[in-house]
């Protein structure tokens, strides 16, 4: 990427600013005529949107001046490691694929595939074990929630 001022955090700071603009513009079409007493439904969004724009400007300024937050620490995170974008993209892809297949394929199979694929993407060594665990979790949750707790989940192609 180009220039010394460029930092990935700028995208998030810009997102704050743009979200503020979006809130202000997005509520322009909300009619105020509907309210007869006190403030209409546009007042608070305007307040929030305006505040977001202001915060966005300060945030961008802070990033440009070299300010940083503290990246979150967690037991399983190596804070000094460089970001592994491949894993993040891979996980995102797997999740979106799951979203695409969950309706036609049904929860048990789609969830099994989701678990197996994620476990392997995250570095599970035994692929067969990951697949077996995936099936147990996919079908187990389906049986527990649908048969046990009466929650509706689409069964899809599985004849359960």
């Amino acid at each position: 990427m180009n220039g010394r001022w460029w930092r990935p955090e700028l995208i998030l700071a810009l997102a704050v600013l743009l979200l503020g603009v979006f809130v202000v513009v997005g509520t322009l079409d909300v009619s105020t005529a509907a309210s007869t007493l006190g403030l209409g439904p546009r007042f608070f969004p305007m307040l929030v949107g305006g505040a977001m724009i202001l915060i966005g400007v300060f945030y961008i300024a802070d990033v440009l001046r070299g300010g940083t937050g503290d990246p979150e620490e967690s037991e399983d995170v190596d804070a000094d490691a460089p970001a592994d974008w491949r894993s993040v993209l891979l996980m995102s892809g797997i999740f979106l694929a799951f979203v695409a297949i969950v309706q036609p394929l049904g929860w048990p199979l789609a969830a099994s595939l989701l678990f197996t694929a994620l476990a392997i993407a995250l570095g599970a060594e035994h692929r067969v074990r990951a697949a077996i665990l995936g099936l147990v979790i996919g079908f187990g949750t389906y049986l527990l929630f649908v048969k046990g707790l009466g929650v509706t989940l689409p069964g899809g192609v599985t004849p359960l």
């Binding site: 955090e9 995208i11 998030l12 704050v16 979200l19 979006f22 809130v23 997005g26 909300v30 509907a34 006190g38 403030l39 439904p41 007042f43 608070f44 969004p45 929030v48 949107g49 505040a51 915060i55 966005g56 945030y59 802070d62 940083t68 937050g69 503290d70 990246p71 979150e72 620490e73 967690s74 037991e75 399983d76 995170v77 190596d78 490691a81 970001a83 894993s87 993040v88 996980m91 999740f95 979106l96 799951f98 969950v102 929860w107 969830a111 989701l114 678990f115 994620l118 476990a119 392997i120 995250l122 599970a124 990951a130 979790i137 996919g138 949750t141 929630f145 929650v151 509706t152 689409p154």
Partner: protein, 504 residues
């Protein structure tokens, strides 16, 4: 009826077989998710919100309370036995606790944490019993402008305390407020920010936000910086405390409790400041030079402070409807699912529920002590779960919780987008709690604001019309600008110190 009688009735409700079972389920689940890295009580309660459609309110809150307290106990096990730094409120415990464990005193460290948590939890819950009716008496006359000012105080305090960078805390709050705006405006029936999607008319559900920001966000973040070495867990037997360790622990427990409860009750106080203060106090009071090498006082004090602050958080939540932590915000959402609004009226309208929940905190504490002392080796085993399976499982349960709501693919897409937001926030050091609080408290702040201005016939002055509101708004400004002033002051001082040396 006085609060003692009400509490006794609460015990009668909490000690039925069904509710004891819910309490046991809650504390066990809570300890489990507290021990496991990557998930916590906030997300667990959020995932369980759908049960509010089928379970009695009293039983549900007894279970949620168990999860809430259990998470605190479980977190200490992780920070003592795992050789890697964890989340900030249990980090202080890890400072000495982890060193104790490495010197072969893991059993004592776990015991002083568990017994300290029990002592602090019990005492702080007793303080809650005393403090809650007092706050209720004071708050019963609060008007809409006072509630609006309270919400503003919660927003600013949480945003400025939770992060080293105020602008990042506020950005997180803003994300939450915007998420809270989506959907139909309750007063006028106007759709706002729904992008024309009918699925968004009802707003974005708390479960989706909490699970997206916490579970999916955490999983993506961990994936980006995974420790590839297997977890390094220190082996431990049954937790116990010798006579000498008792003698060294009981004073830090009491001091930690005294620090933790008031900070927990303050908006933005949280658990981090009192645990740190308790650590600093114990270090100062300690004789000898054991501190830094595994002093038991450094575990006993902060753990007690941590648990006492958890009880303190319940004071503003129950008496004012004011959440001051992410978990408290989710609990507030649970009350709303039942059509209940925490606040002074809750104590009037549903005393059985409130006092049953408070009584169950005492019961849950006893259960947690029993679960944590002899079963420590079992919880230690949980820490060995291979991380790829753990995080894959977390994502599957996140998807399950969201998909089970409406079987809607739109919800899953929103979940993914919020997961990306959660990932970005972690990566760039934006605290998550302000977003959750903003999302849940934002709509209530709007209602109170509009109510206040309607009463004042549109005159903005009504917002500072009562002394309580003025004080609260002044405190909000203070919360917002204190870090800034501190920074300016620190800079001036360093300039004054470095300027002469530079001119040489």
């Amino acid at each position: 009826m006085n609060s003692f009688q009400l509490l006794m009735e609460g015990f009668a409700a909490a000690l039925t077989w069904v509710n004891l079972l819910y309490a046991l389920l809650g504390v066990t689940l809570g300890t489990l998710v507290g021990v496991l890295p990557g998930i916590g009580p906030a997300m667990t309660v959020a995932l369980l919100l759908p049960i509010t459609f089928t379970v009695e309110p009293a039983s549900a809150f007894i279970m949620f309370a168990g999860i809430y307290y259990g998470g605190m106990y479980g977190g200490s096990t992780t920070s003592i036995l795992l050789n890697t730094p964890g989340e900030s409120s249990s980090m202080i415990t890890a400072l000495e606790g982890n060193k104790m464990a490495r010197r072969g005193r893991a059993a004592q460290a776990l015991a002083t944490a568990a017994i300290g948590s029990f002592v602090a939890g019990t005492l702080a819950t007793a303080m809650l019993v005393v403090a809650a009716p007092l706050v209720v008496d004071f708050a019963i006359s609060f008007g809409a402008e006072d509630y609006f000012a309270l919400a503003i105080l919660a927003f600013t305090a949480v945003s400025s305390v939770m992060s080293r960078s105020v602008v990042r805390g506020l950005a997180s709050l803003g994300f939450g407020l915007v998420i809270g705006l989506v959907g139909i405006d309750e007063q006028t029936g106007q759709a706002r920010l729904t992008l024309g999607l009918p699925q968004l008319l009802g707003g974005i559900e708390v479960v989706v936000v909490a699970v997206g920001l916490f579970a999916l966000g955490e999983a993506l973040y961990v994936a980006s910086r995974m420790r590839h070495a297997p977890p390094d867990v220190i082996p431990v037997g049954r937790a116990f405390l010798g006579r000498r360790d008792w003698a060294r622990s009981w004073k830090p427990w009491l001091r930690g409790t005294a620090l933790g409860f008031p900070f927990g009750a303050l908006p933005g106080g949280g658990a981090e400041i009192p645990t740190f203060l308790s650590y600093a106090a114990e270090k100062k009071l300690a004789k000898g030079d054991e501190f830094g090498k595994g002093a038991i006082e450094g575990v006993a004090g902060p753990e007690a402070a941590n648990n006492a602050s958890a009880a303190g958080t319940l004071v503003p939540l129950l008496t004012l409807g004011l959440p001051t932590s992410a978990t408290a915000a989710i609990l507030l959402a649970a009350f709303q699912q039942y059509g209940l609004q925490p606040g002074p009226q809750l104590f009037d309208h549903s005393p059985a529920l409130v006092w049953g929940m408070i009584a169950s905190l005492f019961v849950g504490n006893v259960m947690l002590l029993v679960l944590n002392l002899p079963l420590a080796p079992l919880w230690a085993k949980v820490l060995h779960v291979p991380r790829p399976y753990l995080y894959a499982g977390i994502v599957v349960f996140a998807a399950l919780g969201v998909y089970a709501l409406n079987a809607s693919v739109v919800d899953l897409v929103v979940l993914f987008l919020l997961g990306l937001l959660g990932f970005a926030m972690r990566r760039f050091g934006l605290p998550i709690a302000p977003a959750v609080i903003g999302m849940i408290l934002g709509p209530m702040a709007e209602i109170q604001l509009r109510r206040a201005l309607a009463i004042g016939a549109g005159d903005i002055g009504v917002l500072v019309g009562s002394p309580v509101a003025v004080v609260l708004l002044a405190l909000s400004l203070l919360a917002l600008f204190t870090p800034l002033l501190r920074k300016l002051w620190a800079r001036r001082r360093t300039e004054a110190v470095t300027a002469p040396s530079q001119s040489e």
